[in-house]
Subunit: 320 residues, 2 copies
């Protein structure tokens, strides 16, 4: 059994290989080739926190994954990151532990950003004029980083409530040759960007139907739990294509769940990202459409990213 | 974060400390001081196998536990044990991983046997004339080993379908100063033993009401999943005391669930082992009673045994 620490994992992860694996994971999921039971969780008081356990496998795969991720919002007060996590891979033929990936949440951040890049690949308009990033946390950084694999555009507008965090992201050395500006106006962002990613933990809508220009694609990754919402239900209703990662999960939470509860859209309108990966005709069909990808995160992403890292580790063991 | 391997774990585990911790865990559970959501599982075909995830914490405790245990019955054909498992402890205040216990199922075996020893401590008759062990697998060994902490009796009858496995257990060096006999007759065992532990994976009853002598205590640990059953429902109905580890779980599976479905007993008759730990007047009250403990396993046992090992490891780190 291999135990991999964060720095090793960062060094081992091939982003193109991972994007390919996660994309194929979405497709397998939508073909019904994945076993992904509902997420389970523990909630804590005093201090407040939560722990989510995602687990599953591909019927044709070699491994099953168990991912344990925690969020303790008071951690930064004692100098710790709010999020933490690890992934375990087990041999699907014997149950033997194959790898423990002590990634501290890095792989969750990356596989979530991979969802954004894959959605952009299939749903963004041909010519992205400017990328809009809503939010300034870690996921804003990762989304931007992986979008570079899905679009040539290097022009970015960042919106955030915290201007110093927005400035930190704008000045991150990874983006030194990008043209990044910050704004405190969502109207300004929506008027100028046709590929928008929302990455906040907002509990009320930030983007509304009246703001969005024709030809815009929006990926929303923040509403990953009950009660969270970044996109107004009228905006979901107005979109020409509404894509989710998991139909069953997005009926329970995420932006689309609100729109369905408010009867702004019917479940029949929703398609899965994996269906679009399999048949691109189900995605964007014109440059004037508004498309939305509402991604709540599925264990297949965890499985695929963990497998990518582990197989690189065992294939290159002389160098690790 | 500490990573502990099986041999280290075996060396670190203090059985008396663990029995005390698990006993207090049962009590805390029955006082409503534990958060233990229902077990979740993955099932596999080709080869057949399963993986169970148990997780939880004590409200006043330091850690939360996630236990991942697998069973792949074809493993022995390729020289691997059927069962495997590991436990993870996380800091309940921050979510940070505290320890990974790569125990390969050893701690599950031990905490299950601890349940048997704790049940025997509170429910066995004062004078145990002979211990009856039904089954010859690993759990039969562990039950016998830990019963030595709960009774002075060293006289044992072992029943099993596989006489060579029964002989192996009888001749195990750990029991060299015990008086152990094997039998292929359950009638012989029930006629001679007044502390019986059933440890099989049977799907149909092995012990029946007509066989059991007054003054006998029976602990059943084999029926840990849907469909399994070791004790006939009439026997459950005849018992003076029916004790379970978790009332809610034992309504879903275990021997008692069958008796309830068949309306042989009412749920009101059932008490929890933790209630008996708290108030011994709820346990055996005379030497002629028949008592039954139906133990399906709860995450609090995993939490307590993992915590016992980990705290020994950090307290004695100079010696590990």
């Amino acid at each position: 059994m291999r135990i991999l620490h964060r720095q090793q994992i960062e060094n081992l992860l091939s982003i193109p290989d991972m994007l390919e694996a996660v994309e194929q994971g979405f497709a397998a999921f939508s073909r019904g080739e994945a076993i992904v039971p509902p997420v389970v969780a523990l909630q804590f008081d005093n201090p407040i926190g939560d722990c989510h356990i995602k687990y599953g496998y591909l019927k044709k795969g070699k491994y099953y994954v168990v991912k344990i991720a925690s969020g303790f919002p008071d951690n930064p007060q004692i100098g710790l990151p709010a999020g933490n996590g690890l992934m375990l891979l087990f041999d699907k033929n014997t149950g033997a532990p194959a790898a423990i990936l002590l990634d501290e949440g890095y792989l969750t951040d990356m596989r979530t950003a991979a969802g954004g890049a894959i959605a952009a690949k299939h749903l963004a308009p041909k010519n992205v004029s400017c990328i809009g990033i809503v939010g300034t946390g870690a996921q804003a950084y990762y989304q931007l980083k992986l979008l570079s694999f899905a679009t040539q555009c290097r022009q970015v507008l960042i919106w955030g409530r915290n201007s110093s965090k927005a400035a930190l992201l704008k000045n991150h050395p990874d983006f030194s040759d990008w043209k990044i500006q910050t704004t405190n106006s969502l109207e300004h962002l929506t008027a100028n960007c046709n590929l928008i990613v929302t990455t906040t933990s907002s509990h009320s809508p930030l983007l509304f139907a009246r703001q969005i220009q024709p030809g815009t694609h929006i990926t929303a990754v923040g509403a990953d739990d009950a009660g969270k919402q970044e996109l107004d239900s009228e905006l979901i209703a107005r979109a020409d294509q509404v894509i989710v990662d998991s139909r069953s999960q997005c009926l329970r939470f995420g932006n689309v769940s609100h729109a369905i509860k408010e009867k702004k859209i019917f479940p029949e309108k929703i398609r899965e990202l994996g269906e679009v990966v399999i048949d691109s005709a189900l995605g964007r069909t014109s440059d004037s459409q508004i498309t939305i990808a509402d991604l709540t995160g599925i264990a297949v992403q965890d499985l695929q990213i963990a497998t990518t890292v582990f197989e690189k580790a065992i294939g290159n063991c002389g160098f690790v």
